[in-house]
Amino acid sequence: MAVQKLPLAKALNESLRTALETDPKVLVMGEDVGKLGGVFRVTDGLQKDFGEDRVIDTPLAESGIVGTAIGLALRGYRPVVEIQFDGFVFPAYDQIVTQLAKMHARALGTIKLPVVIRIPYGGGIGAVEHHSESPEALFAHVAGLKVVSPSNSSDAYWMLQQAIQSDDPVIFFEPKRRYWDKGEVDTEAIPGELHKARTVREGSDLTLVAYGPMVKLCLEVAAVAAEEGRSVEVVDLRSMSPIDFDAIQASVEKTRRLVVVHEAPVFYGSGAEIAARITERCFYHLEAPVLRVGGYHAPYPPARLEEEYLPSLDRVLDAVDRSLAY
């Protein structure tokens, strides 16, 4: 009962259900989250069970959704907002950056903004424009926000619980191409800290850091590399703000090589921040520069090109080879 094998989307659904059951102040709001259950069914059945007053179909206006969520939070609610796709968060960007992120500081701590913004993100599902982007760096750069992304069902369940319980605004990026991947969820486990990275595979030759959809890929890379006699450690970052630099540092001090993998464009992406800081922390340990594998500096391409655009097994292996060649 407490341990179930669930697709990632269903784990999120269960997590929302638990939150709605536990805390009467929790609300779910967004476009099509009601009867439809969201375009990915993450909110499936919730409106039926908790009513239209707690699972709220909103007008089609993202700034309005986030702006009213802020107002609801000021009134004591804990809204969990769904943005339908990554590419549609930008109309809400002003409310997120100038209001949600800064209001706690503006009030010198007298008010709290426990708002979670769920964003299905990333590519690999053959979608049309605006449905496959990875804008996490655009949020992580902004103080006042926390930015996380689960890579598996268990983290999906628990990290969403923790995000909802957090008194800070959390941008919760959901790896949409992993929605259907099943994994074990123990709803009675004691979860790890929300902003701590997790080593998901031990290794000694090189560290791969990834989060969300790229963790699975990096585990595949590590498996292939192992066949070639290379021991690759994989760290699931889980949180892009704050970043658990201590964990990466510890790994790199051991392996002396680091490759960061994400779907977002490399230029000004999270890999840059990790590379810069880890190079500073591990200057005398690194045998090779930190390498980055990610999207190109181009709009996310049409579906028939996404395989080339996205980090792939070969591209990550290529980076691993290049790093090891130093």
Partner: protein
């Protein structure tokens, strides 16, 4: 919206709120209608239209071919040739009526569902399929048919339309612009801002809202509690609601709005009251949120059926016309099918093209690296 599941409630408020929402339905205004669902011409004091038999048959033909194209696209999606399709089924009259009201020098800003308008502009239908197949994001040249690219971010195009219309006014031209959007889009701040800008600058733009009753799973009551066409008045320009399943009325009302724009009287909002007969897109499952009854009721108002009845009753078209059109439809379907199947995947290097018009050092660097990386496979260097 009902009030459930929260603590201390005063029934007074909740009952009021329910009644307010119900009243949205109560005061549905009169639609402008020139052809009723029974296929009879009706008169309207303000809007009228006098078309030749050829023109009437032409409108019918446009609608039939558009529907045929749309059906073909839907089935191509089922066959895996397209990743997605956004069907216009049921909205043919709104699109053909408004589309045929336009002059060649008028400029159109569509959403992602204006296949009928594209048809009127002479855009090759297969052009529309590229983005749904995933080979491009649109990719046609907007200038060749004065038909802008499909815009997916809801409402964004209404501002582009307004700016374009401001430019027309600056040029002293008497062209006009039409911006399409949906009932759901009416809630976006961008749409309101386009109303403000177009009113303040008196821009020659027609806002054409296809209220197809649904924004994916949300009925129009989730966007507004009064009829949408009324939105315009508070921005200082007229709004009119037209029977969106009546191609003649859509033509007449749009034409009149365009003339207003040309005269220098500024924007108009046209709300075409219609219905999305199908799913939102091929990814959608409308059985989760709406009842079959509703669809059935709207089927009786079908835009093509009523026009056919009219043409037949009035003897404006004979059996040969309908037969010929049938053949033409099949030819169109076949042509689209073949064109889609023959549509090549883009070259891998294409993802680096057109990021910038004047180039960008990083794009050049990444392109070169990618080319070298790909070449390494051919050489067998990297596995």
């Amino acid at each position: 919206m009902t009030v459930e599941g929260t603590a201390a409630r005063k029934p007074r408020r909740s009952s009021k709120r329910t009644s307010a929402s119900a009243s949205a339905h109560a005061n549905e205004p009169q639609l402008v209608q020139l052809l009723n669902p029974e296929g009879e011409r009706v008169q309207h004091p303000e809007y009228d239209i006098d078309l030749s038999p050829e023109e009437l048959c032409g409108l019918y033909r446009d609608m039939v071919l558009t529907r045929r194209f749309d059906a073909e696209a839907t089935s191509l999606q089922r066959q895996g040739e397209l990743g997605l399709w956004a069907s216009l089924l049921g909205q043919e009259a709104a699109q053909i009526g408004s589309g045929r009201a336009l002059r060649d020098d008028d400029y159109i800003f569509p959403t992602y569902r204006e296949h009928g308008v594209a048809w009127c502009r002479g855009v090759d239908p297969t052009n529309l399929l590229g983005m749904f197949r995933g080979v491009n994001h649109g990719g046609w040249d907007p200038a060749s048919n004065n038909f802008h690219l499909y815009t997916i971010v809801i409402g964004a195009q209404t501002l582009h339309a307004t700016g374009y219309a401001m430019g027309i006014a600056k040029d002293g031209s008497d062209s006009a612009v039409i911006a399409y959007f949906g009932d759901g889009a009416s809630s976006q701040g961008d749409v309101a801002e386009s109303f403000t800008f177009s009113a303040v600058y008196n821009a020659p733009v027609v806002f054409f809202c296809q209220n197809n009753q649904w924004a994916i799973s949300e009925p129009t009551e989730k966007q507004t509690r009064v009829p949408l066409y009324q939105r315009a008045q508070g921005f200082g320009f007229p709004g009119v609601r037209v029977d969106g399943n009546d191609v003649l009325a859509c033509l007449a009302v749009t034409r009149s709005a365009l003339e207003r724009a040309r005269r220098g009287d500024g924007p108009t909002l046209v709300e075409a009251f219609t219905y999305r007969m199908g799913a939102h897109t091929t990814s959608d499952d409308p059985t989760r949120y709406r009842l079959d009854d509703e669809r059935a009721a709207w089927e009786a108002k079908d835009p093509i059926l009523r026009m056919r009845t009219y043409l037949e009753k009035q003897g404006l078209a004979d059996a040969a016309f309908f037969e010929e059109l049938e053949t033409e439809s099949e030819t169109l379907g076949k042509r689209v099918r073949e064109a889609v199947r023959a549509m090549p995947d883009p070259d891998h290097m294409a993802m680096f093209d057109h990021v910038y018009a004047d180039g960008h050092a990083l794009v050049d660097e990444e392109r070169a690296r990618f080319a070298a990386y790909q070449a390494s496979f051919a050489d067998g260097e990297v596995k």
